[in-house]
Amino acid sequence: MTFGELLERFEREIFAYVLRLSGNRLDADDLYQETFFAAFRSWPPPRAGNERAWLYRIATNKAIDRARRSRRVVPLADLRLAAPERDGVSLMDLRTAVRALPTGQRAAFVLRKVEGHSYAEVAEVLGCSEEAARSRVAEAMKKLKEAVR
């Protein structure tokens, strides 16, 4: 496989993934660049036929690094204080709440609940056990439910 084939096959879904993780297009563009550059530099993929999971793993790690560097994660308590009293929950509320999740949980939530990956795939991307992946998703769900309650 050449790098061009890898790019053409996976760039769209990786971009969509980092857009969901970061919540804005500028960060998504940067994460896309960082992901494919890192893939390029560490070429070849560790296992033939497993390039997709490899890219997701790189993208997830890049998103986590970035979140750590920028420290822009909003504590859940702040979010709830800032949220006005309301009856319904808008998509914006949910989006804000997703962005407030720690990146590891956010990645697990997006991979499982938004993109529909299996827990085995989530575990592979995040480099953890399937059980840990389940617990991250469950934790994320719990926080989201609390945040938009």
Binding site: T2, F3, E8
Partner: protein, 202 residues
């Protein structure tokens, strides 16, 4: 909103940076030609492949990445000149190509056969045997036919001008209708006579 424009902007930025950092060795693009889509690859020493179809031939990719590594990336700019010259050719505004071709990943015999093929003038025909003779071995017309049949750079290396000794068209990687259309284009004719034209004796 679709994310396509965002992805294509991101890709442009990625390719530009990869080129700045010297990471791109081969660029490719797909041309929409009168004969259908053509997949075109250009490396540091010239044109590496022109393939009939929107997707690359796996054999071309294997040969290219063997010679130049995996840094084969979609990049219209690398292919600009080839696209322009092919456009001019299809519009009857160009009779020969002013392009370097890169035949390095091929065997010396294949290279000699394709170099001989490249000398057949616009609008003329030759035979597999004549090409074999020009490549230095008249007895090897079958082998020459094999090398011509696997020409990675059709149109620019005009293997469509090589026909069988009896004047029948022989084969073509883009299919015989494409071969007929190229020959008709070069003769300024709409149609190729039934049974083809007799090969020139040059």
């Amino acid at each position: 909103m679709t994310i396509e424009p965002l992805v294509s902007e991101a890709r442009e930025r990625l390719i530009a940076r990869a080129k700045r950092e010297g990471l791109v060795s081969v660029g490719y693009d797909v041309m929409d030609s009168p004969l259908g889509p053509l997949w075109i690859a250009v490396g540091p020493r010239g044109v590496l492949a022109i393939h009939y179809g929107a997707k690359p031939d796996p054999r071309d990719l294997a040969r290219i990445s063997r010679a130049y590594g995996p840094a084969v990336l979609p990049d219209r700019r690398s292919c600009d000149r080839v696209l322009t010259e092919l456009d001019q050719y299809f519009a009857h505004r160009r009779r020969s190509f002013d392009l370097d071709v890169d035949l390095t990943p091929l065997t010396p015999f294949q290279r000699r056969v394709l170099a001989a093929t490249a000398l057949v003038p616009y609008g003329e025909l030759t035979t597999y045997r004549q090409v074999a003779r020009r490549a230095g071995n008249e007895q090897a017309s079958r082998a020459a036919g094999g090398a011509i049949g696997s020409n990675p750079i059709p149109i620019v290396v005009p293997c469509h001008r090589v026909v069988a000794s009896d004047g029948s068209l022989g084969g073509y990687s883009g299919g015989l209708p494409a071969k007929r259309r190229l020959l008709a284009l070069e003769r300024g004719e709409g149609q190729v006579p039934a049974g083809g034209w007799p090969p020139s004796q040059r």
